[in-house]
Symmetry: C2
Subunit: 396 residues, 2 copies
Amino acid sequence: MGDTSRIKNVARRVVEQYRQGNQMVVVVSAMGDSTDDLIALSRQITDNPSPREMDMLLSTGERVSSALLAMAIKSLGVEVISLTGRQAGIKTDMVYSKARIIDVDNDRLRAELANSRVIIVAGFQGLNEYGDVTTLGRGGSDTTAVVLAASLHADLCEIYTDVDGVYTTDPRVVPEACKLDTITYDEMLELAHLGAAVLHPRSVECAKHYGIPLHVRSSFNDNPGTIVKEETDLEISMVITGVTYTKNVAKLAVFGVPDQPGVAYQIFKKLADNNISVDMIVQSAMRDGINDISFTVTQDDLHKSLETVEETIKEVGAQGYTYNADVAMVSVVGAGMNSNPGVAAMMFGALAEENINIHMISTSDIKISCIVKNSDAEQAVKALHKKFALDKIDQN
Amino acid sequence: MGDTSRIKNVARRVVEQYRQGNQMVVVVSAMGDSTDDLIALSRQITDNPSPREMDMLLSTGERVSSALLAMAIKSLGVEVISLTGRQAGIKTDMVYSKARIIDVDNDRLRAELANSRVIIVAGFQGLNEYGDVTTLGRGGSDTTAVVLAASLHADLCEIYTDVDGVYTTDPRVVPEACKLDTITYDEMLELAHLGAAVLHPRSVECAKHYGIPLHVRSSFNDNPGTIVKEETDLEISMVITGVTYTKNVAKLAVFGVPDQPGVAYQIFKKLADNNISVDMIVQSAMRDGINDISFTVTQDDLHKSLETVEETIKEVGAQGYTYNADVAMVSVVGAGMNSNPGVAAMMFGALAEENINIHMISTSDIKISCIVKNSDAEQAVKALHKKFALDKIDQN
């Protein structure tokens, strides 16, 4: 939701679809900068606001846009009603600011749909068992949409965003990047986790769990976007679906870790206790009864991570640690790589051709990630996109 | 609620009072221009928004200020919780945008007070039996405070406003105007109805009904304000408590109205059906089997009123009508005038001395109102304030 002209535009599209005979539940996010404005207000009051009060504050943003969108739709002659998270029956756990949806009581939703009304739901929010407002944290509005689609057994969940769909890589880096017609949930999950900001992994996980197809498309135009679903329609599944990257990552390596059960647990438990999110974790093969464990964190968390690691290495009896504060993760993703053992080699080869040094490697069934110098990231993405011929894909 | 610095200021005062051992429920209004900003947003969408959606939209303003005030109080080290109208148990009728409170379920309020928490309630809003948010219309936040005070059997309800209290008249017109230490509910009601903008009549009516003393005081300083209660403490009740006026009023007179039952009903029913609020109504004594009925409306409603009256006079068989689009109502108010038959004469005399012509007169037990030329209003107020020696009152 941008400004009121964008709201009117969304209203027109909703009305069009409604008039084609669709029952519709529309989940909205807050308008433009309104969430940031509310956060700025709270900062004027205190640096350390109560999470409960923060949720009370922030949940108003989606209410405003839901009411405005309902007004806009109504003015086009269609019956419509806005519902808060509570009214939409969204019940969450007690964790303020990043609550998880535990149940949906969809009685009211069903009743309003039965009245042929379009329903606008304020996203990103629910009610906990105290009757207090909670917000769902990052990806909350998309997740609301997916959960409601699942609860109502919707045919499709459309996610309107500011891009046309899911691309083989970031078009700002590689102008030849292609929009994908379809992608599997798992591929989307890998892409989402890797910083392709189109969809939060949480909403994709949820869609996968309930088998709800997602249609990721632009709120600015009527172009078809990308369908996220279990199996793609491609006759021959593409080996690589996309190339993605996350810049400004920090890498830590703890070396000389005793090869005993529970040591990795101790390291990462302590990091988790300090609220440090660890991304890639790599443990090299044992050598002389000791291991090296490397992992990546955000640059913001580096300082806290170093303190934590310093404590831990004493406790676990590791020899020491190193870090690099300025690296990037570059990944290729594709469900087809499973059956194509040459993908990793192709990737490393492409990076070598560009003289890009690889600091760390991690692979999963559908993804290969390399840690490289931050300043090499874009060049790596371009090289990989070209190497895997993603600029020449034919999705018929 | 002005800006965040004013919120911090309110927080300090709340904490001071809390530390003196008071249990406190604080009802907040929206910040500064935020309600106007929300209305402006809705206007960008449609000129004719659904009242239900408008309530959803506008109720966010008080939620924002309640959350911010709670954060500010918490940062001063006091346990506090913000509650929406719903969470405070405020149940209203179904009339969006001007709902009336029909019940308060104060379980949550009592529980939070029992936890020694300060409670911040988002004013101006409640929940109807559909579970939808309603707003209470003008005076809604003050009324919320009074109703909660009644429900919780509070000792006192303080109303923080931008003036120091209730004055004998508008200090902008009469610099000698005195702040009143006390005033009765009825006097306050007359003053409020007459445009003294300190308290909405609705909240005063409610306080009177439940016998809740109100303390009207400034949110900018710690000066004692004005106590509104059943009986004043003055040993000898003042004859006149205040002088007030409403400018920009329009006067209509329907003349030659047949003296039959139901005619006045027909006239004012039709005005009411057209949503025209009539203020003063005067019917002169019958003469030759016909009556003249005069009344006042706001200047905004004049055009619609004239159309309505034109229709009605044909139906009821009146002879015609006149109007004056530019008059003002000047009133003296005081519970003591009941036993002082000379008050009316004094009032008319004071106006005559200033050569101010009186167009209409209406009296109640505690009020005498005169309609005068708009341009005479301030002069009339000054003369009356002086005549009744309101600049010399001694409240011991």
